[in-house]
Symmetry: C2
Subunit: 340 residues, 2 copies
């Protein structure tokens, strides 16, 4: 492998001159630049990133921490798309993206410590689910910029984070039904222990208020996000004396059980009951009927988080930011367009 010395020799210049052309230093004559460029090409030279790292004290690397054991934090296609967005900007900056599992332990310390102490990372992106004050303290003490994907829960300290605009998403779902002359809009799977869920619910309530609709507590069902939870919650709803004409599912998996419950009761979707869920995962498209969703642009979420991270890297003293990605509605078979 050719080194900078070989190039210098071949071009008949000094190593500093080669270094200058590599780094686009303007104080260099175009004649010598050409000579160097020619030599570089001939020797198929490329700077050794490890040497540059050492010299510049920059690992040119960003870390994405995943909480793999915890399916909830970065599950399946969600994670995939997020990573795709992150990857895009990281390599554009000529950095590398390293991925590691939060729970990995090596040399008696967790990966994050290990990466920081080994000076292997210039910044970290991590899901809000794993953020706690200890982790924050560590990152801050070591001057490692970081961005949370997802709004962090219960956090006194201000940090940088990017999330879906969940409140707006909840509002969007409710407004969609209202625009379509639905009046008894249920919200199932409410779980106030989760920020994103709470936000969606807030948006739902807000939309109702803005349209002078009564907020009916019996149309709000608390519960988890499994398909069985969805089934049970919908059953509960259908046992009430006055039925909803539309349902918002707080999360995507529960919608499958909810749909099943409606079908079993003999009611039809979307005529009797219209239904909307969140996330535009593959699942929404393969069900019978296909599920209308508030479409979450997860790629964009990843992209923006990485962009924010580089802003922090490039301008150290920057103020904390919160960034919300907007959503849009994707109409499928559980709703019907009937705007008049």
């Amino acid at each position: 492998m050719a080194s900078i010395k070989d190039v210098a020799k071949a071009a008949g210049v000094s190593v500093s001159t080669v270094s200058r052309t590599i780094n686009d230093n303007p104080f260099i004559s175009s004649a010598t630049r050409e000579k160097v460029l020619k030599a570089i090409k001939e020797l198929n030279y490329s700077p050794n990133r490890m040497a540059q790292s050492l010299s510049n004290n920059n690992s040119y690397t960003i870390t994405l921490i995943v909480d793999i054991e915890n399916e909830k934090s970065f599950y399946n296609s969600f994670f995939y798309e997020v990573m795709h967005g992150i990857e895009k900007v990281v390599y554009q900056k000529e950095y590398c993206l390293i991925v590691s599992n939060l729970n990995t332990v090596l040399k008696n310390e967790n990966v994050l410590d290990w990466l920081i102490k080994g000076r292997r990372t210039e910044g970290v992106i991590l899901p809000s689910s794993i953020i706690d004050s200890k982790t924050i303290k560590k990152l801050k003490e070591n001057n490692i910029p970081f961005v949370s994907i997802g709004e962090p829960e219960n956090l006194r300290e201000t940090i940088n984070w990017v999330d879906i605009n969940n409140r707006k998403a909840g509002e969007q779902a409710a407004n969609y039904f209202i625009d379509n002359h639905r009046r008894k809009i249920a919200f199932i799977g409410y779980d106030d222990s989760k920020v994103f869920n709470r936000r969606r619910f807030e948006g739902y309530k807000l939309a109702l208020e803005n349209n002078e609709l009564n907020y009916e507590t019996n149309l709000v069902i608390k519960g988890g996000n499994s398909k069985n939870d969805g089934f049970r919650m919908m059953k509960d709803l259908l046992n009430e004396k006055d039925l909803p004409d539309s349902v918002i599912c707080a999360d995507n998996l529960m919608s499958i059980g909810a749909i099943r419950a409606i079908q079993e009761s003999g009611l039809s979707i979307p005529e009797d009951i219209s239904l909307i869920s969140f996330d535009n995962s593959q699942i929404a498209e393969i069900m019978y009927p296909t599920i209308s969703t508030i479409n979450v642009d997860v790629y964009e979420l990843g992209l923006q988080s990485a962009k924010l991270l580089f802003e922090l890297i490039e301008n150290p003293g920057k103020r904390e930011q919160e960034l919300l990605i907007s959503t849009n509605i994707e109409e499928r078979e559980t709703t019907e367009q009937e705007h008049q």
Copy 2:
């Protein structure tokens, strides 16, 4: 940040002595080792990986190449699990895992070239879908060990790969039905342009032959893997005069449409027609009915590929290997246990 010099000074020894203790060199007295260890602890010292990289000419990094644009290669949860397995091994070896998208282009070259030329990777794991002779040539010329995830298609050269034992999986599916006294076993979604699909079909045929069952061409339906493909293929099958009593779906998505077609025809699952698909994705569990599958241990696939890669790194001249991960059956609602 403390460097090796600081430690040497604090311990009252030379840098070489510190280096020796770090690297567990046996030629060192336990007295001085203690001194050094103490200094290391006090200064919270950790070797700078970038400096080690330069000195040892080892990036301590493995690359996982993903073909993100092509959903088929590493889609969704499949990819997630594979990466999990890889990650496990890589960090155990105190390496880092970097992930990059095949299609990323920077400085007019693709990531792989960029990573190789920058000496940033010691080995590569990549999906068989992106393997061609040009890529292989490049990796071999640069002495970068690599492992393919998935059996490569149409390849003269021998390379290292790890895959699910798809032939065995197909055999398993068919044998399962045979053991349950099914005799008219259909195979839908056959697509001989894909290795994994072909292998599953081979296994299916093999099982029939071994049980002296007639192989009936009208029970084999060619087609793609969308839910609509599955629906159409099943419809075709149901239009035949003699119906199958069981169906093997060559891939997982098509099973959803196939089930739908059976339900619409008024036949019951699994009584009239029993059905098995592949991959144990989330999808199999959330459908009504839940889908029995030949369970693919994707985590293990990732784990083994990384292990193989490290074998290659540690023993350069090693012969090419092919590794098959075995599968097992996961019975859900589309089949019923009736072993007698």
